[in-house]
Symmetry: C2
Subunit: 227 residues, 2 copies
């Protein structure tokens, strides 16, 4: 479902160029579950943003469902993101002026879902992440882990085919974190949602069927776990 071919990403900063990714190739097949693990600054978020069509590679190609994303204009890319990809950002990026419920409804509004259905599904998703009692809170009125759970519920709003999650449990205690990972794994096992999770948590890597190790912008190792 995501095919990354020889992708590099260079951030141009005035006189200096910083190579965040250097010749990365990987293929994620439908319904796979994969973790990407590596030191701080190794390029995990950069790779996930490119796979989620949120940024363009400096060189190399990214195919989503066989479509070459370099040929698509920004409207087409936005359409793919909206309909196929659920993205959990490392820093959540919730809209500060909307409450939890409205933040989860937002992707459905863009997808043209009716008001009643949107509202019911948003409540259902907030219930799923144990946040129904906080659904009228705005982000500033939520704890760190609570904001993270809103961000996860929002990523699931449009029933995505693939969920790309950047450190989805960094702000959660181990019980809440395990609940979230179990929820994502259930979606993968029961509904075939493809799952790519960037994490620092070895527990998460240990329960994924495939772990990709990133270091200094390159893939240095890959492991497959027998299910």
């Amino acid at each position: 479902v995501v095919n990354v071919q020889q992708v590099s990403k260079v951030y141009r900063m005035g006189e200096v160029d910083l190579q965040a990714l250097n010749g990365v190739s990987l293929k994620i097949l439908p319904s796979e579950n994969v973790s990407i693990i590596g030191p701080s600054g190794s390029g995990k978020s950069t790779l996930l943003h490119l796979m989620g069509c949120l940024d363009r590679p400096t060189s190399g190609k990214i195919y989503i469902d066989g479509v070459d994303t370099s040929k698509l204009n920004s409207n087409k890319l936005a359409e793919i993101r909206r309909n196929k990809i659920g993205f959990v950002f490392q820093f959540f990026y919730l809209i500060p002026t909307l409450n939890a419920l409205e933040n989860v409804e937002l992707p459905m509004m863009f997808a043209g879902v009716g008001e009643r259905e949107r509202r019911e599904r948003a409540e259902e998703l907030l219930e799923l992440v144990n946040l129904k009692s906080r659904m009228k809170h705005r982000p500033a009125e939520l704890s760190g882990g609570e904001r993270q759970r809103v961000a996860i519920a929002r990523a699931l709003a449009n029933n995505p085919k693939i969920v790309l999650a950047d450190e989805p449990t960094g702000n959660l205690d181990s019980a809440s974190g395990k609940e979230i990972i179990d929820l994502l794994k259930r979606l993968n096992e029961e509904k075939g949602v493809t799952l790519v999770i960037v994490t620092h948590d070895p527990y998460i890597a240990s329960i994924m069927e495939r772990t990709i190790y990133l270091k200094d912008g390159r893939i240095v190792k890959e492991e497959r776990r027998e299910a």
Copy 2:
């Protein structure tokens, strides 16, 4: 150095009141190192913000070095924060328009430190957290864990007597996280800096001499480790 007496914090939200802390009492002695652990939403950040004089309790008292903070005006509180307390926020709150070096220099500017000394100390601190090669980057040009390390260097800028750190390693891989915690522990052991760390990481709790367990806004347990 911090004495919390029967502190409660209620967030008033329109028609609903939310009690985040309910009758919390604790004493932190000079040069102690303490971890505060508990589920997401249990009131850890709220407690840390009150101890750091960033917010006022709804009821109860907080004494810093024996001074009753409820009697101080906001200028006096700011002075205590500037001179005595180093705060690492859960979401860093770096100034987006300043680069890493300038963010670390900022507290020293407020404290009236000269330009040359400020710059040298800021470079030293960024070297200490392994970020010297990124010191001209602005926050948007840094990875999650790199931003966190800038926030830690900034908290140490004015040689604080007490460091209050809210999940200082949540965005770091285990090697970088361990380096940061070892750095903070060294400051505690060699310079007597009092340390209060909110964390979800059981490893950090296991190396602190005292662990306070918070649940639903109350202290439910406390453990002391034999050094």
